[in-house]
């Protein structure tokens, strides 16, 4: 007979208040395996904390998105948003599935080129493109998405210098009825800036306007905003066709689709409130199909969604460092990862599961990270079974923005492991070492020596 596990005693206040509609919510289902690979083994092999990415999860999600759009529209292309997760192995999964690349800096651009993405399949977005970036994009025939007039003028100059007519698109911002309105990027639709830029490009005839781009916000919970956006984009494209007898080749609807994370302050769980790909696709495709394009002249629909594709495939595994009681009586648990690694903890209430079996007793606690900083809070309140030092936890839905926004602060960044379709684990990023940080440092000679 298996010995029962020891659990420390806990005192719990009798909760006589009203239950919420889901009963007393607990998140203590043990999560011991990711794609049939044991969490314990992974931590043993690669150390704690550890990011784990499920290749199966990525591919299934991608297929779901592709299905949702291709069943509603004849010409669809996805472009992998590098800033969401630019670990090369992850990028290449998307490229293998047929995704282009969408980048917003020279660094990301070179990363995509190095991964082997053909130049004409790298979309160059963002407000900060250096002369060097623009020259490189022109040489590689990458579509440049223009953010502001200064950039338009500079690209025009550099194109003349190179003696070519590069393909460009302009970023449009617009009122889609949501707040905040992202009007800091691109040219506004309502006040005529967009038409101003279009006229300038087409009449100057130095650049080839092939597309229109928009990106109406992030973590959008309302698909109808996309219907408004698609309608306005189509209106511009048809306007260009009527005015200049020119067909816009593609409409890039950007990204911003919500993942299944729960935003802080949200009453309901993200898994229940986030729209599905089908809902976003329905809003966008219906608007485009009804916009009045000729069947043969429907523009290519490009989607740059990142978060919704990769978030759920990412897991962060960690261990308990210690338990303590706070002054106000709340219980606190200190974990070996904090906001330096899990940057998205700033805006999500991440779902966290223990990675081993427990009894049914649970307790509210604050989850802290290991940093000597007061802001290092992973969850302000989380109902978990009593955890002991050395126990493991799994943070869910961390695939997006963490492996790019993580900080080397106080401690080093953890390793990243990919579990492939055949349940084999591959190390795709090494745990950082002292050397990985110091390799870029330069020591002036007079500072080399000191005596204490």
């Amino acid at each position: 007979m298996k010995r029962l596990q020891y659990e420390r005693p806990l005192i719990q206040r009798v909760n006589t208040g009203i239950l919420n509609k889901f009963g007393t919510r607990t998140e203590f289902t043990p999560f011991t395996h990711i794609d049939d690979v044991s969490v314990k083994d992974l931590l043993q092999q690669y150390g704690s904390p550890l990011f784990v990415i499920s290749e199966k999860g990525i591919r299934e999600k991608y297929h779901e998105a592709v299905r949702a759009f291709t069943n509603r529209y004849p010409k669809v292309q996805f472009a992998w948003s590098y800033k969401t997760n630019y670990i090369n192995a992850v990028c290449n999964i998307f490229h293998q599935e047929g995704s282009w690349a969408e980048v917003v800096s020279g660094f990301e651009y070179n990363k995509a080129l190095q991964n082997g993405v053909p130049g004409e399949k790298i979309i160059f977005n963002g407000p900060d493109k250096t002369d060097e970036d623009i020259r490189s994009a022109i040489a590689n025939k990458s579509p440049l998405h223009i953010d502001h007039l200064d950039e338009l003028y500079r690209i025009t100059e550099l194109a003349e210098e190179a003696g070519v007519k590069p393909e460009v698109a302009i970023r449009i911002n617009m009122d889609t009825g949501i707040y905040p309105m992202w009007d800091r990027f691109g040219f506004n639709y309502e006040n005529g800036q967009a038409w101003d830029a279009i006229n300038k490009i087409i009449l100057a005839n130095k650049l080839e306007l092939v597309g229109l781009h928009c990106h109406i916000g992030t973590f959008m919970l309302s698909p109808s905003a996309y219907a408004v956006a698609a309608g306005k984009m189509a209106d511009l494209a048809l306007g260009i066709r009527n005015k200049f007898k020119k067909n816009i080749k593609y409409l890039d609807m950007g990204g911003g689709f919500a993942s299944r994370n729960t935003l802080k302050g949200s009453y309901l769980q993200g898994a229940d409130t986030s729209p599905s790909f089908d809902q976003f696709a329905e809003a966008i495709c219906t608007a485009l199909l009804n916009a009045g394009f000729l069947q043969d002249e429907l523009p290519l629909l490009i989607l740059e969604t990142g978060r919704a594709l990769v978030d759920e495939a990412g897991y962060l595994l960690g261990s308990v460092i210690s338990n303590k009681r706070l002054a106000d009586g709340r219980r606190a648990t200190i974990l070996d990862f904090g906001v330096n690694v899990l940057f998205t903890a700033f805006w999500y209430d991440h779902k966290i599961s223990p990675a081993q079996e427990f009894s049914h007793y649970t307790e509210d606690s604050v989850l802290y990270g290991p940093l000597c900083m007061n802001i290092d809070v992973v969850r302000e309140n989380c109902t978990l079974p009593p955890l002991r030092k050395g126990d493991h936890v799994v943070v869910h839905t961390v695939g997006a923005y963490n492996m790019t926004q993580w900080m080397q602060f106080i401690s080093l960044r953890p390793a990243v492991v990919l579990i492939d379709k055949d349940r084999n684990a591959h190390l795709i990023r090494n745990r950082e070492t002292l050397n990985s940080i110091e390799v870029e440092e330069v020591m002036p000679s007079y500072l080399k020596d000191f005596k204490l």
Partner: protein, 743 residues
């Protein structure tokens, strides 16, 4: 001006002489159902073994054809010898029976003219029944001549053949006499001797030499015809011997040639050669024996030879009867005459394989993206009885589920509210709207079909799509829709427990009409390994994951060949190390079919562009040059860029293979196939998948005998800015690259 008219006259005369020359050659080869010039020369030579006969035959032929030319008879009748060969035969008979004199020549001319008139008239009568002219004018002409000559004392029966050695001595001295004696004494079994002499008898040359020449000619012309000639002759020969206990006419007048002619005609020329056509010969020949015996008894009374009367009568009888068949019972009449049994066979087989299932109106899948068939033809649930030919479509995810979440609401279903497209161009004839969606699991048996649209596609062909979501229909009765126009959105109305599209073809315009089995023209099917396969004119099955074919503009525009278009190619012949320019023209034939024409090689390629594929249907011309190579390697092209799709097709063996082994294959071809010419097509590269400006595809054309690989062709084609710009073809003794240099 006079200069001009002289040159014009010269031109007219030379073109008329060419026509006459062609007509003469074809008149000889026509006698053995061929259009081969070398065979014609051989046959002509064999008629001159009896010089007098050969000469008078040729003279009669020239008289008939040039008269037909002067009378402006249809050129095709002259060119293909239709108006000539009957007079030729009359001339041959006259030359071998009567001796030359002034009267002879005059009579020859007149009887030749008479036969020409008969040929034109009888041909016109028979063409209406789609029957061949055969030798009726010859028979009437010859019998007329023979009966008349009995009154004409000035025409003398030739005594050649009576004093044969005198003649031989006079012609070639003692050596010739000895040679002929040796040949005559040549130890041949009697049946073989009779066979050869019967062959010679077709040209009224009752000797072994002529027969042997003709036999060799037939073997070169067609292995199948040679087999048939043996089968026909010996069936008749032995049946006659067995039933009459003597060899009578067969030995005496070599009337057995009737069996040979009808065997070739029935077994492979007018009917596609097959085991059945051989059996037909086996059964019809004994009937001919009976006919032959009966007729010879009648004709004996008038002392007239039968000649080919039994053959003519039997063949017309068989062909006429076969034309009345409601459907082909394995004996296929040759539709477009290729003038060789092998060619008839290879073309027939090829067309059967490629086009047997083609339909006139093209019908495509009515949606975007990948769907799954949840119920197909004769489905177990509701596609029963009169309504069995239909498809139900749903969308499934990777886990094979049709819904997300709990699947208890229609909105959980992936296909719910997806756009439903028009499967073909047509007119909306019926629209039903206003029926609410059922809750999941419920069915509305009162409004069985739910919200529905019926489209008129062609006379007797309607498409019906049902179970639309209420108030999503965008069309009304009388609207004309193109393929791919949105009709409405998928819903769950009618007899539909979960959202799906029901699609059927029917022959009447009502919502409750019974269904019609009608294949989908083109669709892509997801294979188990994740790749895609193109299906054409097929019925997708339950569980198939399928999607419609979208065409790619650059391919469509590059292959949109319209009559009047001219292309100039700068060709580099890397094999012969030379350069030249070539001119191809898109044109139409008399039937309005599109074709490519190359004046340099005098060759034509027929093509069909159905909007999804461009494919070649036939090639006519010499088997050399760039257009021939283009025919082999650009045989079928998909107009949508799908790099995972590989097309496969087969070519008629006689067009693709120049291998010697094929001549052996010919002999067995009616019974079995062990050689095959296959074509493979694949996209190689593209600059931008979604808006391509440059695209390359490559093809392979291989001939294979069993596992033995024979000739191999490779083609690579580059499209650039809506034009086929580069053709690179390598093959046996062939390596050319052509660059488009203008229109």
């Amino acid at each position: 001006m006079p200069l001009l008219s002289v040159s014009y006259l010269k031109k007219t005369i030379s073109s008329n002489l060419i026509l006459l020359g062609e007509g003469i050659l074809h008149s000889y080869s026509q006698l053995f159902f061929s259009d081969n010039r070398w065979f014609a020369v051989l046959l002509m030579a064999s008629t001159f073994v009896d010089f007098n006969a050969g000469l008078s035959g040729l003279v009669a032929l020239v008289i008939a054809l040039s008269t037909a030319q002067l009378m402006h008879m249809p050129t095709s009748g002259i060119r293909f010898g239709v108006y000539g060969y009957n007079s030729l035969l009359v001339g041959l008979v006259m030359g071998s029976w009567y001796s030359y004199s002034l009267h002879f020549w005059l009579l020859l001319g007149l009887i030749s003219l008479f036969t020409l008139l008969l040929s034109v008239w009888i041909n016109a009568l028979l063409v209406k029944q789609r029957l061949p002219l055969l030798g009726l004018p010859f028979l009437i002409g010859t019998w007329t001549l023979m009966l008349a000559v009995r009154q004409f004392n000035s025409i003398l029966v030739s005594d050649r053949g009576v004093f044969i050695f005198n003649e031989l001595y006079a012609t070639g001295g003692i050596h010739l006499v000895k040679l002929v004696e040796t040949l005559r004494e040549f130890p041949l079994p009697s049946f073989l001797e009779v066979f050869l002499k019967s062959l010679g008898a077709i040209f009224f040359q009752y000797n072994i030499l002529s027969g042997a020449l003709i036999a060799i000619g037939i073997l070169i012309y067609s292995r199948i015809a040679f087999l048939l000639s043996i089968l026909g002759f010996f069936t008749g020969y032995f049946f006659y011997g067995w039933i009459s206990n003597s060899m009578g006419d067969i030995h005496y007048s070599f009337i057995g040639f009737n069996f040979i002619l009808s065997a070739i005609a029935m077994g492979g020329f007018f009917i596609v050669p097959s085991i059945r056509s051989f059996l037909l010969v086996l059964f019809i020949t004994p009937i001919m024996v009976i006919l032959l015996s009966a007729l010879s008894y009648i004709f004996l009374q008038w002392q007239l030879p039968l000649y080919s009367l039994p053959f003519n009568f039997t063949l017309l009888l068989i062909l006429f009867v076969l034309k009345l068949q409601e459907k082909s019972g394995g004996l296929y009449l040759v539709q477009i005459q290729q003038f060789q049994p092998e060619k008839n066979l290879y073309r027939h087989r090829n067309e059967l394989e490629r086009f047997a299932h083609n339909t006139w109106v093209h019908v495509h899948l009515p949606f975007f993206g990948e769907w799954t068939i949840s119920q197909d033809d004769e489905g177990k649930q509701t596609h029963l009885g009169d309504w069995k030919h239909a498809w139900d479509f749903v969308v499934k995810d990777a886990q094979n589920s049709t819904y997300r979440l709990s699947g208890t609401e229609v909105t959980h279903f992936y296909c719910y509210n997806l756009p439903v497209l028009s499967p073909a161009a047509g007119t909306v004839v019926e629209v039903l709207d206003g029926i609410e969606d059922n809750p999941i699991g419920g069915v509305n048996l009162e409004d069985n079909w739910g919200n529905a649209v019926v489209l008129y596609l062609a006379e007797g062909l309607y498409a019906k799509l049902t179970h639309f979501k209420k108030d999503t229909l965008k069309v009304k009765v009388g609207d004309y829709v193109k393929r791919g126009d949105i009709l409405g959105n998928c819903g769950n109305s009618g007899r539909s427990p979960e959202p799906h599209i029901h699609f059927q073809l029917q022959s009447t315009p009502y919502i409750g009409s019974r269904t019609l089995p009608y294949p989908l023209t083109y669709y892509l099917r997801r294979k188990a390994d994740g790749g895609l396969a193109l299906h054409s004119f097929e019925f997708p099955k339950e569980g198939d994951k399928i999607m419609p074919v979208h065409t790619t503009r650059i391919i469509r525009d590059s292959l949109d060949w319209k009559p009047g278009q001219v292309w100039l190619w700068s060709v580099e012949d890397k094999f012969k190390k030379s350069n030249y320019t070539l001119r191809w023209e898109v044109t139409t034939d008399v039937y309005g079919r599109y074709c490519l024409w190359c004046a340099t090689t005098q060759s034509t390629v027929w093509f069909v562009n159905d909007g999804v594929q461009l494919y070649f249907t036939w090639y006519d011309g010499p088997r050399k040059g760039l257009l021939y190579a283009f025919y082999l390697t650009h045989y079928r092209v998909l107009q949508g860029y799908y790099p995972e799709v590989e097309l496969k097709d087969t070519l008629p063996l006689n067009k693709a293979s120049k291998d010697l082994l094929r001549y052996l294959h010919d002999a067995t071809a009616p019974f079995t196939t062990w050689m095959k010419a296959s074509y493979y097509f694949k996209f190689t590269s593209v600059d931008d998948k979604n808006n391509p400006r440059q695209l390359i595809y490559s093809t392979n054309t291989n001939t294979q005998a069993g596992n033995l690989k024979l000739s191999k062709w490779q083609g690579e084609f580059e499209l650039n800015e809506n034009q086929l710009r580069r053709i690179t073809i390598k093959g046996p003794h062939f390596n050319q690259e052509a660059l488009w240099i203008g229109e």
